[in-house]
């Protein structure tokens, strides 16, 4: 059983732009959730979705601009760490995501689970509107 999410993506954008999308609260809010992230080690922040009553507590663990960003992702029934790794080659920015430490915290995640599923449905609508 593999308890890690590991995914690779690539974008035809400069590495600085992808870094900004990961570390600028306003940009990050457009593709993940409302948040008050700052790329500063030790900074505590939250991802929030009021509509689904979902709050993720996070703390920045590692910042290596523009190559690496790591923070905790605690809430919705899990206690995990999210790590982004970036590299740029021949006009393409490669982005790797690792989310580790999956371990169920409590039984209070069913509501959140519903919320997440609903969010996925709504995301398609957002994509169409862009």
């Amino acid at each position: 059983m593999n308890l890690t999410v590991s995914q690779d993506f690539n974008f035809k954008s400069p590495i600085e732009k992808v870094w900004l999308a990961l570390t600028d609260a306003n940009t990050l809010a457009r593709w993940v959730m409302a948040n008050n992230i700052k790329p500063v080690v030790g900074h505590k922040f939250q991802f929030r979705n009021e509509q689904w009553n979902l709050i993720i507590d996070s703390e920045v663990l590692e910042v290596e601009e523009p190559y690496k960003l790591s923070y905790t992702w605690v809430g919705g029934g899990i206690n995990t760490t999210v790590t982004w790794t970036l590299k740029h080659e021949d006009g393409t920015t490669y982005l790797n995501l690792e989310q580790t430490g999956f371990e169920k915290e409590d039984q209070a995640f069913n509501g959140a689970k519903y919320g997440w599923a609903k969010m996925g449905e709504d995301l398609n609508k957002v994509l169409e509107e862009l």
Binding site: M1, N2, L3, T4, V5, Q7, F9, F11, K12, S13, K17, V18, A21, T27, R30, W31, V32, G77, I78, L95, L97, Q99, F102, E103, K104, E105, D106, Q107, K113, W116, G120, L123, V126, L127, L130
Partner: protein
Amino acid sequence: MNEKSQDRDIYVAIADPTRRKLLRLLADVEELPLNELTVHFEMGRTAVSKHLAILKEAGLVISRKVGRETRYRLNAAPLREIEDWVSFYRRFWSERMLLLNEILEEEQ
């Protein structure tokens, strides 16, 4: 035993090779008495029984008394729940990336 401490014990439970082997043995059958589990190990009944107790505390094994023997069966649900979360986040991040791609292209 409340849910919270059970969940924390899952990882302790599956960290040990003897206990992982016990789970594998139980995965192939409906249930097994302690004697039939013990024959697969170099250790005695008491040691195997202690490992089974840890698996029971983590909610991964269920036991019942039948006459003078104790029979054990696997309860994989706690592991499956975690696996569900992992697969959920795989989808979640894939969807997020599509959106990020749109945002990045829009800005060029």
